[in-house]
Symmetry: C2
DNA sequence: GCCACTATTATCGTATACGATTTCGTACAT
DNA sequence: ATGTACGAAATCGTATACGATAATAGTGGC
């Protein structure tokens, strides 16, 4: 059966936000969207409230909805949140992965590698999602899984409109994927998996921060036995964006 | 000004779920709730969709909404998710806490201690929330903060209906609070704070699991220098509820 | 020329109405 | 007795309509 009007509205609006047709700050007028969809305002309202709950649009009583400002900080905050959640999800899923999952993930990573040569960032990005979904998909905690899913949703909505890729990062990323797979194959303890998965994402985050001239996110997890990252000293300059230091005079 | 009807509906329904007036599985009929509120079904729909987004109610097309089943697993999954998120939030907020925050938190913890003697679990629970809010409230990542808030919301909605407290846990909890405050006062590195905050909640989770005869959650973080917990060995019996072992024959 | 105040307009919030869909009970056939 | 087909009732989904609210423009006074 055809999806409900409110579902259609939801998908349309999300698409337009993701594709950049509605840029941040764009005013979402119920009537206009309803007209575009050929339906009344009621289902559109519902769709917008759903998008609000996911953080894609901001809503104000008696004023209306606008596409949420995805400035740098919001993007980075989402990335940081994902690092935490996806790390946990991957750790929880790790004991459940079988050989097939790992070889499949390895295959995807090979594909990603080939995308590097072919300069196909679109496909690279899609494969990246697929790779990680494969790894955390079996996470037995559906709540965490749901939050990770939403996080990726937000990311997709933002990436195209504001952010591009960091030069060297893609290649590193592929290497880290292999490292993570190595750990999984070796049956490494859960917390080391979590550390590797989280730090993988934190590295991406910090690549962005470095380009912006900001200090790195402090949320690394110490790898219990192996190479610790350089960011886990006690006194990095606090980052106003992500650590929000009190700048008391 | 009076809150909007849809806001009123939202609060009413949430209250009824939290207080247990609507128990899990209860069928939420738009018309009935609308009548009870003296409004039409439209704002009630909106409220229910919001509650759906927060995981408090389940919704099915053309069928209706029911209060989400809060069986043991859901409760435990939420608790596990909170352990991860709140750990991260507390870690991120740690560098921003000043002396006032810490003494205030210490004071709240003294209050909790007195609640122990007075057998006042209501108040104890409220103080517990206040204590942790004080610690993670300054977390500069609003997204994480939001997720933590929602998590506590879900907890409040569930606790009363299904779960009570674990006997010895409250007293341990107070002690762990003091330990956490000690770390904060000493300016301990971020990841150690995260470990302590997460493990505090994981301990609660595992107290429940122990009562239920289930193996503990594996999501502990290794404390880099001090007393590791006993649950971080490599091969705990996997927990069907939280780790979801593949029971292949 | 600039500020305060009013009128206008665009848009939101919600009530009502009605078609669409599911669910449940009943009758019938096997 | 059990399963199936049909019909009635309950409930949902959405269109339309209209009052309420806030943004905006226009007017007058200083």
């Amino acid at each position: 059966m055809a999806p409900s009007k409110s579902e259609q509205a939801y998908e349309l609006i999300q698409d337009k936000i993701v594709s950049g047709a509605y840029s941040p700050g764009y005013r979402l007028v119920l009537g206009s969207i309803a007209a575009e969809l050929g339906c009344s305002t009621v289902p559109v309202r519902e769709a917008i409230r759903r998008l609000e709950a996911e953080g894609l649009v901001a809503f104000e009583r008696n004023v209306g909805a606008t596409v949420a400002n995805v400035d740098a900080t919001l993007y980075l905050h989402t990335l940081q949140t994902l690092s935490v959640l996806e790390g946990a999800a991957t750790a929880l899923a790790a004991p459940l992965l079988d050989a097939d999952d790992l070889t499949e993930a390895r295959r995807i990573n090979r594909d990603m590698e080939s995308c590097l040569q072919a300069f196909d960032p679109q496909r690279f990005s899609r494969l990246n999602v697929a790779f990680h979904e494969r790894l955390y998909g079996l996470c037995p905690n559906p709540h965490i899984l749901d939050l990770v899913q939403r996080g990726w949703n937000r990311m997709r909505a933002m990436r195209s409109s504001t952010f591009s890729t960091v030069p060297g990062r893609a290649r590193e990323s592929v290497a880290e994927h292999d490292g993570l797979l190595d750990l999984l194959e070796a049956g490494t303890p859960v917390h080391a998996i979590e550390a590797a998965a989280r730090d993988h994402r934190t590295n991406t985050l910090n690549a962005y921060l470095a380009v912006a001239g900001l200090p790195p996110s402090p949320l690394y997890l110490p790898l219990p036995d192996a190479t610790p990252h350089d960011a886990d000293t006690t006194d990095p300059t606090p980052d106003p964006a992500l650590r929000g230091r009190k700048d008391t005079p």
